[in-house]
């Protein structure tokens, strides 16, 4: 783990890094361990049990909330990623576009506004125009703040891509659309995927904006979890979170290995 001969080596930094990862993973470890606890207690271990997993999967509210969360995340991801890809292509490749820094600024604006402000502003706006589409309201709100999360990795990938590849395609008799279809998009795909993945997590994880914008019946998983966490009863939450964590670790690791193989 250590290369003390490295000219860049600084003593102690390895221990800080170790501490950092312990700090980052401590809550996750507690979460996973106590999801298998036989008793309701989240501090005293009283034997291994899958009881909470059974209960969580049988819980109608959890099922409904999970379904809502997934519907919202899927739609918001598709909308945000599509719009972000178009915008990134225009800003990175179209020389006719003026005011690039202004447009770039607008695209990352949702990152610059604290969530709570976005939340109350969206609530006020929706109630002012009388928009009431159920999950639709939440999908709109999520699409907005997912745009920069999708945009940044796509743009970074585009900027890192050799523009002469597209010039080579044009040179070899491809028109603009063929070049986009055959060269740019296939090469951009890893960026689009990581942008979409990021947008998906951010949507799935969002709490405060959803809390403000959601109408009755549009409970998402974070809102349901919040209602449980506030009263401190969480074994089912631990179980469902562990499942989500397991699934996502699998996906992320698989994506990493696929990328590495290339």
């Amino acid at each position: 783990m250590t290369q003390k001969n490295d000219i860049r080596w600084l003593p102690g930094f390895n221990w800080v890094t170790l501490f950092f990862f312990l700090f980052l993973y401590l809550p996750l470890i507690i979460l996973v361990v106590f999801s298998f606890n036989a008793s309701r207690s989240a501090t005293v271990w009283s034997g291994f049990s899958l009881e909470w997993y059974v209960k969580a999967f049988a819980n109608d509210d959890i099922q409904r909330a999970t379904k809502n969360s997934l519907i919202i995340a899927v739609f918001a991801t598709v909308f945000a990623t599509t719009m972000a890809t178009m915008a990134a292509l225009a800003l990175s490749r179209n020389r006719a576009v003026k005011n690039k820094s202004l447009f770039g600024g607008v695209l990352i604006l949702p990152l610059m506004v604290p969530e709570i402000v976005t939340a109350v502003a969206t609530l006020t706006f929706f109630s002012a125009i009388g928009l009431s589409l159920g999950l639709g309201n939440i999908i709109i709100a999520h699409s907005v703040f997912c745009i920069p999360f999708a945009y940044l990795p796509i743009r970074a990938r585009l900027d890192g891509m050799d523009e002469s590849l597209e010039a080579a395609a044009r040179d070899l008799y491809s028109n603009k659309w063929d070049t986009l279809r055959l060269i740019t998009l296939p090469l951009l795909m890893p960026g689009i995927l990581s942008g979409a993945m990021l947008a998906f997590i951010i949507s799935l994880d969002d709490f405060i904006i959803t809390l403000m914008v959601a109408e009755a019946g549009s409970t998402t998983l974070p809102i349901y979890i919040y209602s449980l966490v506030r009263v401190g009863i969480t074994p089912e939450v631990n179980a469902i979170s562990t499942v989500l964590l397991g699934v996502s670790v699998l996906i992320v690791t698989a994506a990493y290995l696929v990328e590495k193989k290339k």
Binding site: S164, L165, A167, A168, R170, D171, Y173, L187
Partner: protein, 353 residues
């Protein structure tokens, strides 16, 4: 005969403050079936000119023709001109064969025909068995040859090569020179080659255009460019040269600025006017004694096949003489030795500055 590529008054100015005039009023005619080289230091406008020919840039003025037809405003995919890119720009997500077949497919050739021609092209560049590999699995030299095959496959009227050898190491670069000459001869396609390497340009080209600061300085075959440069930039950029400021004394006599007299070519310049003389260091001779410019050897640079002697002239100034070593490998003179530099009048040139 119409030229393969014709430029008249071609200009490219990039907006900015101040605007960048990358190419100013270029006039040039590149013949069919010619190995033509654009030579110059970086920033001289040679790459801009190449990109204008390829269609990646649109000129801000002037005419650009391909076999007499105006192509200045055609997009790149409408021009029967292909490019070998500096860093090859092979599509990393396609196999070598798919890369080579790419242009043919875009020209709506059938899959079978595209594949067949692509395979022929791979044969031509000696990579017949590499069709199924991805570009990332090839060495630099192999990628280079795939890039060539890909650009040649659609049988363009003109092939543009943008410093294609600059990323290769020395030995490979030398063997690729011969390979490129062979391909040009075998295909009969006009090659327009961009480089900043004068040795490469002299070795490969039928004709060379030397460029500097967005302007074409001189066009000619390699020997003419080397032997009879039209101005000081060309003389300095290609090969080595010793320069003297001199006053015309009439006939073939010149008075150098250090007071020494030198015999050179006949000139049309008026008696008493100032001119610049130069000669190639390998055309002067180092003697122990005799007529010529006396001086003292101040530095010796051993180059392997020859040696450069820097001579401080007795009357002021310094010049370099390049000389073969003795057959037994010993030097002509040591540092500090008193010598005479003899310059054949036929080797002296007068240039405008």
């Amino acid at each position: 005969m119409t030229s393969a590529i014709g430029l008249s008054g071609l200009q490219k100015t990039y907006p900015g403050a101040p605007p960048v005039r990358a190419l100013r009023n270029a006039d040039l005619a590149i013949n069919d079936n010619e190995f033509f080289t654009l030579l110059g230091p970086s920033g001289c406008g040679k790459t801009t000119l190449l990109r204008l020919m390829a269609g990646f840039e649109v000129p801000t003025g002037g005419k650009l023709t391909l076999f007499g037809e105006d192509i200045a405003h055609l997009p790149p995919e409408k021009r029967p001109i292909n490019t070998v890119f500096q860093h090859y720009s092979l599509f990393p997500h396609m196999t070598v064969l798919e890369n080579v077949a790419f242009g043919l497919k875009r020209l709506h050739k059938s899959d079978a025909e595209a594949k067949q021609v692509a395979q022929q092209m791979l044969d031509l560049v000696h990579l017949a068995d590499f069709g199924d590999r991805k570009p990332g699995q090839l060495s630099g030299g192999q990628q280079q040859r795939v890039a060539l095959a890909r650009a040649l496959a659609p049988q363009p009227r003109v092939l543009l090569l943008d410093e294609p050898l600059s990323a290769l190491d020395l030995k490979l670069r030398q063997s690729m020179r011969a390979e490129l000459k062979r391909l040009q001869r075998e295909t009969g396609i006009t090659f327009v080659f961009v480089t900043h390497d004068q040795e490469e340009a002299l070795a490969m080209s039928d004709r060379i255009a030397v460029m500097s600061q967005g302007e074409i300085q001189q066009v000619g075959d390699p020997a003419t460019i080397y032997e009879f440069p039209e101005n000081r930039f060309v003389a300095e950029f290609i090969g080595d040269a010793d320069f003297f400021e001199a006053e015309v004394l009439g006939g073939t006599e010149y008075k150098l600025s250090n007071g020494a007299l030198l015999t050179g070519p006949r000139t049309e310049a008026a008696i008493g006017s100032q001119v610049t003389l130069f000669f190639r260091p390998e055309k002067a001779e180092l003697k122990q004694s005799g007529s010529g410019l006396p001086g003292q050897v101040s530095e010796i640079l051993y180059l392997g096949n020859s040696t450069d002697y820097v001579v401080d002239l007795a009357q002021g100034g310094a010049l370099t003489v390049r000389s073969e070593n003795h057959k037994d490998g010993t030097a002509l003179a040591d540092v500090g030795a008193d010598v005479v530099v003899e310059i054949d009048p036929a080797a002296v040139r007068v240039v405008t500055t």
